[in-house]
Symmetry: C3
Subunit: 345 residues, 3 copies
Amino acid sequence: MTKTRIRLSDLAAQLDLEVEGDPDVMLSGVASLDEAGPGDLTFVRDAAFAVRLRESQAGAVIALHGLDVAGRPALRSADPSRDFYRAARIFVPDSSPPAGIHGNAVVDAGASVDETACLGPGCFVGPGARVGPRTILHACATLYAGVEVGADCVLHAGVVVAAASVLGDRVTLAPGAVVGAEGFGYVGHEAGGLQRIHNVGRVVIEDDVDVGANSTIDRGTLGDTRIGRGTKIDNLVHIAHNCRIGEDVVIVAQAGIAGSTVVESRSVVMAQAGITGHLRIGPDAFVGPRAGVHKDVGEGRRVFGAPQRPELDWHREMAALSRLPGLLRRVRALERGARKEDESE
Amino acid sequence: MTKTRIRLSDLAAQLDLEVEGDPDVMLSGVASLDEAGPGDLTFVRDAAFAVRLRESQAGAVIALHGLDVAGRPALRSADPSRDFYRAARIFVPDSSPPAGIHGNAVVDAGASVDETACLGPGCFVGPGARVGPRTILHACATLYAGVEVGADCVLHAGVVVAAASVLGDRVTLAPGAVVGAEGFGYVGHEAGGLQRIHNVGRVVIEDDVDVGANSTIDRGTLGDTRIGRGTKIDNLVHIAHNCRIGEDVVIVAQAGIAGSTVVESRSVVMAQAGITGHLRIGPDAFVGPRAGVHKDVGEGRRVFGAPQRPELDWHREMAALSRLPGLLRRVRALERGARKEDESE
Amino acid sequence: MTKTRIRLSDLAAQLDLEVEGDPDVMLSGVASLDEAGPGDLTFVRDAAFAVRLRESQAGAVIALHGLDVAGRPALRSADPSRDFYRAARIFVPDSSPPAGIHGNAVVDAGASVDETACLGPGCFVGPGARVGPRTILHACATLYAGVEVGADCVLHAGVVVAAASVLGDRVTLAPGAVVGAEGFGYVGHEAGGLQRIHNVGRVVIEDDVDVGANSTIDRGTLGDTRIGRGTKIDNLVHIAHNCRIGEDVVIVAQAGIAGSTVVESRSVVMAQAGITGHLRIGPDAFVGPRAGVHKDVGEGRRVFGAPQRPELDWHREMAALSRLPGLLRRVRALERGARKEDESE
C-alpha cells in the first residue's frame, strides 16, 4: 500500500499546532518512541519520556509545551497523546470499501440507501431496510428486512443485522458481529421436546455504541433488547434477549449477560464475567473479570468471584483459601491436644 | 417496513378462537400488557394479570376463558400464551430472503437445490451439496462440497457448513454459526512443531436442532461429531470434534465441550460451563453455570463449581468459604488458648 | 458426493508401502476399527488393537510390521497412524473452491493475486492487498486494503482480515475468524463518554499458524499484534491488541488474552482460561483450563484456578475446600470444649 508522505509544516497546519525546528522534514508514519524511524512522528508528554527521546530515531515529535526535545523537529501541543492520535488518523486512515454502492452489492427495491452511504461488494440490504448518510457497510454485511441504520455508522465485513433492528448514529459493528438473532427461549412442546418462542422484539442500539468482533446481541421476545448511548462492547460478548444496557457501559471480551438483565449506566463488566438473567446491575457498578453474578449488584458496588462477593470479601476469602490446607493441619493438632486433655482428665 | 394490519374477527378466524366484544378493532402488532398501545394485541393468562389489564392501552386481548377483561375486545383461549405467540407470528413473520435462487447466489453445477428452496444473495452451494424442500439460506450462507441440508431448515446469513456435513429437517443455524470446521487435533511433527491431523469425519445434525449465532461445531477426526434430535444450542458455544450430543439437550451460551465427550439426552449445560474431553454426561444431568467438569456426571446428577461438585456440596462449600477468614481467627484464638494451657501445666 | 475408489495396490504405490494379501481389494474410505465396513481402510498400531481387528469389517488395514492381521489384506508400515492419515487425505481430500478466481469474487484493481491462487465466490480482495501462490480463499472471505497473505494459506469462508495485516505462509484461518479488528482501547472524551483510540497497528501472523473458527485477533494500537510461527489457536479464542504470542504456542477454545500480554514460545493456554493484560507468560508455561491469570507466570510453571495458583497448591486447596464445611463443625466442637475448660477453671 502506498504510504502517505507529508511535510511537518503541512501536518502542523492540519492539526493547528505550532512547528519548532525544521518545518520541511518529511514524515510517512507514526510510532512509539522505541520503534520510530527517521520517517516517523512520535510523541512525548512528560519529562520521563523526553529523556528517552534522545535515543529515539523519530523524525519529529509532538511534545508538551516547554519539554526539552534536544533540537528535534517538534509540534508543540497541550495534549500530545490526543494530537498524536489525530496525526495517526492522517497517516493511517481507516480502511473503507470503494465509495458508492458496489456493483456486487444487492439492495432490495424496497430498501432505501442514502446517496452518501458506501456499500462494499457482497452487501445485502433487505426489503424496507434503511441506510443513513455517510454510513459504510464493508463486504458481505447483511441487513435483513426492515433494519434501520443511522448516519456515520461503520458495519464491518460479515456483520449481520436482523429482526428489523434499529441502529442510531455513529454505531460501529466489528467484523462478524451479529445483531438481532433469535433469543434462546423455548417452551415445552405438547408432543415432547422444546419449541422456540416466536420472537417479535428487535434490538435497538443507540448512538455512539461499538460492538466487537463476533459478538452477539439477540432480539427481544416481545419488547426490545436495548443498548444505551455510548456503550462499548468488546469481542465475543453475548447479550441475550430483552437485556437493557444503559449508557456508557463497558463490557469486556467474552462476557455474557443472560436474558432480561438490566445493566445500568456507566457500569463495567469485565472479561469472561457472566451475569444471570432477570437481574439489575449498577449504575456505576463493577463486575470483576470472570465473576459469576447471580444476584443484583447495587449502585457503585464492586463484585468479584463466582458466586459473586463484594471485592474486599473476595480478596480476604481467596487469601484465606491459600491457608486452608495449613489450617486443616492446625485444627488436627488442636484436636490431638484436646484429646490428650480429655485422656488426662 | 409496512406493518400488517388485521381485523380482530379475521385474526380470530385464523387462530380459530372466539371473539368477545367489538370484532372490528384493527390491530397491527403484539405487545406486553405494559407496552401495548391501542393497535396492539396483548394477553392475560390469570387473574393477577387481569387486574393490570385495566391500565393497559391494548386494543384487544387474548384471555383465558372466564377471566374478567372489563369489556375490552378479546379472543378467548385455553392457552393464551401459546395463542398469543401464534398471533405474533402473523403480525411479525420471520424475515426471509426473496423466494427462489437469488441471481447473486452461486450454485455449483454438481449441486442439487430443491425448487422450493430459497437462496439469498451471496450464497454458495458447493459441488455435490444438496438443499432440501422449503429450506432457506440467507445472504452469504456457504455450503462446502458434499454438504447435505434437509427440508424446512433455516440457515441464516453468514453461516458456514463444511466437511460434507449432514443436516436433518427443521434445523436452524443462526447467523455466523460454523459447522464442520477442522477439529483442534495435532501430532508432534518430526521436524518439531505440531502437524494437524487430517480430519475425515463430518458433523451430523439431526432434526429440529437449533444452533446459535457464532457457535462452532467441529467435524470429527475419523468418525462424526453428532448432535441429536431436538437439541438446542445457544450463541457462542463451542462443541469440539467427535462429541456426541444426545436428544433434547440444552446447551446455553458460551459453554464449551471438548473433544469426544458424550452428553446424553435431556441434559442441560448452563452458560459458560466447560466440559473436558472424553467424558460422559447424563442423561438428564445438569451442569451448572460456569461449572468446570473434568469427570463423568451420572444420570440425573447436578454439578456446580470448578472443579465440579454435587450441587449441595457446592452450596455448602461456598457458604463455608465466606466464613473462612473468620475461621482463621477462631483457630488462632484456640491455639492461643491451648498454648496458655500448655504454659499453665 | 462421488466417493474416491482406489485399489489397495494403487494405494500402496501412492503411500510407498508394501502390500500383504489380496492387492486388488477396492477401498472407498477410512474408518476406525469399530466403524469400518468392507470398503474401508483401518489401522492397527499394537497387539491390543490387533485382537479387535478380528471383529472388524474393514476391507484392509495398515498395520505395524510383524503384527498378526489374520490374513486380512494389509499395508505394512513403521508408523501406521501417520500412514493411515496420509491415506485419509487421499480418500477425503480437503474441500476447495473451484480453481482460479471465481466470477463472483471481487479483486480491487490495485490488488495483486498470484495466478495459482484460488478465490471462491463472494471473496473480496481490497486495494493494495496481496495473495500469494497456491493460497485458497473460500467463499465470502474478505481482505481489507493492504492485507498481505503468503503462499499456501487457506482462508475459510467468511474470514475477515483487516488493518493491513500480514500473514506468512501455510497459515490457516477457520471459517468466521476475524484478524485485525479494532482493539478495545478508549480514552475519556472531553464531552464525557469514551472515544476510541485510533489504531494504526496491524496483526502479523507468522508461518504455519492455525486460527480457529470465529476466533478474533485484534490489531495493535501503535505497534503490531504478533502471532509466532507454528502457533495453533482453537475456536472462539480472543487475542487483544498488541499481544505477542511466541512460537509453537497452543491456545485452546474460548480462552482470552487481554491487551499487550506476552505468551512465550511453547506455552499452552487451556480452554476458557483468561489472562489479564500486560503480563508475561512462559516460555513452556501451562495455564490450566478456566484459570484466571492476573500475574506473570514463570518459565515452565503450571498454574490453575482463578485467581491463579501453582498446580500443586491448587489441588491441595480444592481438596481442602471440600473438607471446609466439616472443619467448621470441628472448630465449633473445639470451641465448646475450650469453653468447658474455661468454665471448669
